[in-house]
């Protein structure tokens, strides 16, 4: 009987924690969407329009890169678990490699059109790292304050 008393709250807490952590990718995408305009505005105010436009390009490429990474990993997991998937193996590999081509193309275009924007572009590519950092801080807060 005492075991049941301890087990039910533990199971509920585990379900809450699972629900909380399963939303991490969605939260990271949302944080990227919030951070990008704020940082572009800050870059425009601090460094001027050209680096800010480069930064916006970098953020867009990073967001697309992260979205494609999620899709590629989902297709990969479908394949690994033997689940039915709508993505072909070639498509998964093509999208995985296309991300690098897109980044290189964006950097080349920015470099040829406006070298001053290149630093902004490179900084923008780190948007997912900033979003993951924000998510890590939020999860730390949730673990410490709410015990999730």
């Amino acid at each position: 009987m005492p075991d049941q008393i301890h087990t039910e709250p533990d199971a509920a807490q585990a379900a809450t924690a699972e629900h909380f952590y399963s939303g991490a990718l969605g939260r990271i995408g949302g944080v990227m969407g919030v951070l990008a305009p704020l940082l572009v505005a800050a870059a425009w105010w601090k460094f001027g329009p050209r680096p800010a436009i480069g930064f916006a390009f970098g953020c867009a490429i990073a967001y697309l890169n992260f979205y494609w990474l999620k899709r590629v990993i989902a297709g990969f997991a479908d394949r690994a678990t033997g689940a039915a998937t709508s993505q072909s193996g070639q498509g998964i590999v093509f999208r995985f490699l296309l991300r690098y081509v897109l980044m290189a193309l964006g950097a080349y275009v920015i470099f040829t059109v406006s070298p001053a924007s290149l630093n902004g572009l490179l900084a923008g590519l780190f948007l997912p790292v900033a979003a993951i950092g924000c998510e890590a801080v939020y999860e730390l807060y949730a673990a410490l304050a709410r015990g999730v």
Partner: protein, 101 residues
């Protein structure tokens, strides 16, 4: 694996030592050692990040095959791991741009 680690350590030490010793000869020989070192650094970063991504993906595939029920957690860890590993290569690229231009 330990032999491979030693090999990478020796090669990385060599790649950093060459431009450091060659700084005084840039004007006389005209060889841009910084650019050469930058190329080697990017190659090392790309290669080691590729190894790390391959290892992470292989471990995730094995874990998924062993325990398909743990898919959400493994998928999340793999996505975050791959994104952070890619960012390490980007750090190297940024440092190279800052040093070479």
């Amino acid at each position: 694996m330990s032999k491979l680690s030693k090999l990478f350590m020796v090669l990385s030490v060599l790649s950093f030592a060459v431009p450091a010793f060659a700084q005084g000869e840039v004007a006389s020989t005209g060889v841009n050692w910084v650019a050469i070192a930058a190329g080697f650094s990017m190659a090392f970063a790309s290669g080691i990040c590729a190894l790390a991504q391959g290892k992470a993906t292989a471990a995730a595939a094995e874990s998924l095959a062993r325990n398909p029920a743990a898919r959400p957690g493994i998928q999340l860890a793999l996505i975050l791991g791959l994104a952070l590993i890619e960012s390490l290569a980007l750090y190297t690229l940024v440092i190279i741009f800052a040093k070479v231009k």
